[in-house]
Each structure stands twice: as C-alpha cells, then as structure tokens.
Symmetry: C2
C-alpha cells in the first residue's frame, strides 16, 4: 500500500519530535508500504520568518515572502531525512522544484495545477522514503510559491492523487495532527463527544468550513475530487483516527454526524436602510472591494419601505467593515451601523439531512427549550448553522449533541 503521511508543525516542532516522526515513518516502511512523507515547518518557524520580513519592510513583496517562508519546510525535510538515513533507512528530501509541484502564480495563496510524479515514482521504486516539503510549489516560470496556511494538508492529498495510478488505487493519505481524529463535537466542550470512525468528504468539508480545525478545507475538496481516502490521526499515539471517505449508503441512516462551532465571526447590522433594488449592492460592494469576506446574511422583513440588514464577517475585519459602512450613514442611506463581537456560530452537519425532514425544526426546538435565542440562520444541503450569543455557545453544542443522539 502507498501511505502519504503528513506531519504538521507541532508534530515536527522539536528535534525529539522529529525523531518520533522518523520512528513512525520507519515502522510503516518496515511493514512493507511505499511511504511519502509531507512535512510542515517546525512549529513557530513560519511566524519567525514572517516577523523577520516585517522587521525589514512594512509590506513584504508576496513573491519574496514565499521565497523566505518556504525555507521553513525545507529545513524540516532535511532534518527528517538525515534522521531516517542515520537509522539505516533510504530517504531523500524533495523540494517542490524537484517534485515539480506546479501551481499558479498567486504568491502566498497559490493553487496546485499539477504534479509531475516522475521523481516521486523514481524514489519509491528505488525503495526510498520520499520526504516532501509541504505548503509550497513552483509556478510555470519556476518561481517559488506557497499555498497559504494549512497548505501542507493539500500538498499531501494532491501528492496522493498524483500517485494514484502508481499505487493502483491502493493508498491512504494519513494526516497526523495533535488530535486523534474527528469528533461528533469538540471534546473540550462536550464531555461525551465520540470519535467518528468514518465521515464523508462532504460532511468533513462542512465541518471544516464551519469552524472545526482538524483538516484544511481545500485538502478535503482535493480528497473528494480525486477520491483519496484521508486518515486523520494523532502523531502522539497509535490509536486509529477517523477515515474521511466517499459517501456510502449506510451513512445516510445517521441524520447528524457532527457539530461544529466558530467564535471567530462578528455580526454587523445596518439599521433602517431603504428597501430598494441595489441596496444590497451598496452595502456589500465596498466590503468586497476591501477584501472583507462576508459569511451569513439576513434581511428583516420590510416595514414602510425600510429594512435592517445583518451579516457576519471575521472578527478581525469588524472594525474596518464598520468604518466602510459609516459612509452609508453619512449619505443618509442608513440610520446607524452596529457591531456585535459576542456571537458564535453553531452548525450541525450530516448527509442524512438530505433524506430526513424536520431536522431544522428539531434543532430550533431544542435551542428554544434551552432558552437560547437564535439571531441568524443559514442552511446548506447537509448543514444548518445558527448564530447565537457567544455566552450560549457551549450550552447549545451540548444540547444539540444530546438531542441528535451523538453521545
């Protein structure tokens, strides 16, 4: 079997931990597997490099920033490879100009275009453990690029996809992290949260994009697109983690698979705007121009030609967003703008929602019974999210976890 093992910054944060990783990699190799390892920079290193850049110039050039921070993963590949070699294993570090992981030229947030797996196949055929730098690539001109935060997960799954023919579909992408799998809810909040043995790509994607930090959303999309099974597991113990796989029929018998929350959003309400065509545009166009991403939006029913508009933005963007919207008040298009940082988003996710009706009603009733006020609601095919007061968040997650029988 081909194992693509990805180790994050915490797992390779010290020389001792790199030794632990080497032991684990070596064991997989000894068991007869082909092994490709994808590593992040040692914990703290990427931030150290970014700070170095910011001490040099206020706004570092994106191309040069990528040249700088990509050294972080390169260091880890070398340290892990020399450790494996000293243990008597054949190993070889590979940077992205060697692996030919080609991206577009969007420095600091590049997208993978293709991987020429020839080098990797060669290394595997020679019996070597290939140790690849995560998070980075080269563009068509050979410039160094990076994939943005969390990009190493994506590197690992993309490498899995590129080696699928070589592995004759017999492969797993193992994402080693500091938690031992995907849970029905955050175990820090819900005492009887249960580790999931399996979860579908769709559910994982919705959980990840609504606050669960266990896996990067882009890597989930890659896994879904190329059907690469992802095993999320802990780098600190040997217990089985959670398999993220394509949906199977039996999955739909469970209505709700997991509950996620997100405390990093803030709610902004624009009060008493005239309810005319184009008003949404006049609110959201200047925000988009400023690069502020808006998540949920609700509009209250119109009263005498006026309405209130509420939406959520990342907490860090609340102040700049409100400054921009003050312009509407000056132009007398709105009475005032109010922001609320003390909110949280709680989401329930499950492919079973497709076939089970009344899930939303059950959710809202459970929250009402617990005297939790719902401020905003949004839904997708397999997810229902509500915005509530941050003070109610913990209780909401516990109540829903019990209500949908996840314990």
């Amino acid at each position: 079997m081909l194992l693509v093992q990805k180790f994050g910054g915490t797992s390779v944060g010290t020389i001792d931990r790199i030794r632990n990783v080497a032991t684990r990699v070596a064991r997989a190799k000894s068991e007869g597997h082909d092994v490709v390892v994808v590593v992040s920079a040692m914990a703290g290193e990427t931030n150290r490099l970014i700070d170095l850049a910011k001490s040099a110039v206020n706004e570092p050039d994106p191309r040069e920033l990528d040249v700088l921070v990509s050294t972080g993963e390169q260091v880890t590949t070398a340290l892990l490879s020399m450790t494996l070699l000293s243990m008597g294993y054949k190993a070889r570090s590979l940077q992205n100009h060697q692996v030919h992981l080609v991206t577009d030229s969007s420095f600091t947030k590049a997208h993978i275009k293709r991987i020429d797996a020839q080098q990797l196949r060669g290394a595997l055929k020679r019996g070597e453990i290939a140790v690849v730098a995560g998070f980075q690539g080269i563009d068509e001109e050979g410039n160094i690029t990076t994939l943005g935060r969390g990009g190493s997960d994506t590197t690992a799954v993309a490498i899995g996809a590129s080696l699928k023919p070589y592995a004759k579909n017999n492969l797993v992408c193992e994402i080693y992290t500091d938690v031992d799998g995907v849970y029905t809810a955050d175990p820090n909040i819900v005492k009887d949260a249960r580790k999931l043995k399996r979860i579908s790509f769709e559910e994982m994607f919705e959980l990840a994009s609504s606050g669960a930090k266990v896996l990067q959303t882009r890597s989930v999309l890659f896994g879904m697109k190329f059907d690469i099974p992802i095993h999320v597991r802990s780098s600190f113990n040997d217990s089985e983690g959670t398999m993220v796989v394509n949906e199977t029929n039996d999955m739909e018998s469970v209505v709700v698979t997991g509950i996620s929350y997100d405390k990093n959003e803030a709610k902004i309400t624009v009060i008493h705007v005239s309810d005319k065509p184009g008003i949404a545009h006049s609110i959201f166009a200047p925000l988009a121009e400023a690069g502020i991403v808006v998540d949920m939006i609700i509009q209250t029913a119109s009263t005498e030609g006026y309405t209130d508009m509420s939406f959520t933005v990342p907490k860090s963007e609340m102040k700049p967003a409100m400054q921009i919207l003050q312009e509407l008040v000056k132009q007398k298009k709105a009475i005032y703008v109010v922001g609320d940082e003390k909110v949280a988003k709680v989401s329930i996710v499950g492919v079973g929602m497709r076939t089970h009706s009344g899930v939303a009603a059950t959710m809202f009733k459970a929250l009402a019974d617990a005297r939790i006020n719902i401020q905003m609601i949004s839904t997708s095919e397999i997810k229902i999210s509500v915005v509530i007061s941050e003070a109610d968040m913990k209780k909401a997650v516990e109540v829903l976890h019990r209500e949908f029988g996840l314990g």
Copy 2:
C-alpha cells in the same frame, strides 16, 4: 558596466545591515549599471543550521546537510529583494535551481561546472536587480549542493564569468567584506601596513592560500581563469579597495607585494625512520586515507640509514594524525612521533620574485638578524614560506615588512 556585488555574512548580519546593503546596491543601479548581487547567509545562520543538524544526528548525511544549510542564503535573498522592492527598485531573488548554477555532486564541497546565464540575462534586460543565493548550486539531477565555506566569493566570480559576453567584457566583481582591501600585511600586526591598490591574481592566490582571509582561493582561481577583475572593498565605507587583476609588466618591479601568516597549522615530526624507498608512502598514505591534508614536508639528511620527517597539518588534525602515526612506532618503523602546535607559517608573496634573485637569502638573513629560528621552508614561483615558533610570528612579519620596504 555590469557589477556583480557580493556581500558576506557580516555585511547582511542584521536587518539594518541588509538595508545598508540595499542602499549601496540601489546607488549602483541608479548610476546606470547592471547589477547582480550575490549574498551569503546572515552571520551565524549557517552555524545555527549545522548545530540543528548535529542535534538531530551525529553525522548528518551530506546531501541533506546541503538542503538544510542552503536555506540560509535563500532567506537573505528574499529579505534583500523585498527591501529593494520597497525602495522602488525592480529586484528579484534567484535560487540556484532558477539560475541553473550546475555543480558536480560532491555535497558540502561541490565544484561549479557551468552556469546557464539565460535567467540572469533576462532579469538584467528587464532592468531588474538580480539577487542570487551564494554558496550553493544544483547538480545534474537537480539535487541541492553547496560549495563549502567561502563559496559565495566563488559564486560571484563564476556569475561574472558567465555574464562576460553579455557585459561585453565591461564588468567588475565587487567583493564586499569587513576589511577595506588587501594589505601588505595584517594591519592588526604591522602598524604601517599599506592597502594595495592593485594585486595580481597569482599573488592574491598565494596570499589567500597562505593564511590571508580576505578572499577565498577558489574565487581567485576563477577570476584568473576567466579574467574577471575582482574589487575587494569594505561594506561599511565607500573607500576604494584593492583591485585583483591580471599581471601587468609594471607589477614585477615590486619584489614582494604582501606578507601573510597562518597560525592554524601544527608541525609533526616522525623521528628516526629508516631511509628506504616507500617510507614517505607509509607515512602519508594512511593520513591521506583519513582525509588529513598535509601542507609542507621536509626530510632531514639521512644519517646511517635513518632520517627524520617533518610536516604540517591543520591544528585540528594534529591529534588524529599522531594517533595514526603511532602505528609506525608499534611496527618499529620509527622511534617516536612528536607534535608541536606552537608554530606559525609566515609567507612573502610577489610576482617580482620571478625576475629578482636573492629574495630568499634576504628573507632568511632578516629573520636570522632578528634571532628567529626557521624550522621549515617551502617555496613556490612567487612565494616563500617559513615555519617558525608561534611566539616569533609577529616579530617576523614586522621585520619582513620593513626589510622589503612595504611600509
């Protein structure tokens, strides 16, 4: 004119110093020159990375060590390029997989085979300042290599050579360092040591290889081979430094150009070896096998079929060398082996020696008059070296500096 400017680790040791370098580079560009900058790792960074490797494994794999330490220069290229960009100059960092600086596969001590200057020419034609990582290359298979300590000087001169046709021979390689040129002797030792305006490649090579640390010997050989004028100057002030150029006729009117010393050698004497064919081989073959480089060798006149053999090795190698030679004593091929760390080598260098006789005699008489005992002598066409007691070194340099009228 094309300027290839090389800045060493001290010159780029802090963000402030990188800013100073950027100012100097920008000035050259503003004056209308094509500029390629070659940078070392920030002072201390290479050692930090090597220490990191040694904390991971006892003997780091050479290939992986190169992957690790080459990140040091990459960091500097990015920091300098983003600084230049923030000042409004077009600049672009280039690593060696981008410059196509191809070396052999001798990891940690690779030799340059060729540079495909296409990328560099492209950057220069676009009006960009090209900022190249010194000290490193790639081999034919795309593996990262390094040129060994001081390799950045060699990178700079080699890049100059590769761009000579582009520059139509109108180029200078500027080596910025923490001294402001090449002196007739170390100014720390000789008060009236004089900065040389010009020196020939041959003389510079002999001075560098006999202890003067101002320029790396391999870079001098490259400059000589491809006739690239090298300007050695300070990165901390604007004064003219020393031009290292091809020999001209007027140079020979000066007999001795400079005096160098080396305190990093130790003398080993093997006492009472039987003076038979093959005895030198039995002494030096095991040393060579152990990778110990022997510099000067002298053999005393044979007495009754026995002789003493003295030679110098790097101080750090004295102990292992003596352990190896104890084997000869065990085999009764010698009576005993004695080592002396308290020696120094003093050399006088000058192309004028070719045409002036009696230079050696003058040197030996001056030392004798100063009651300095000569332990070993070696000569080349333009250099005479003597090994003396380390305690006499300073006096010897002063005496010779005066004797040959260098003040």
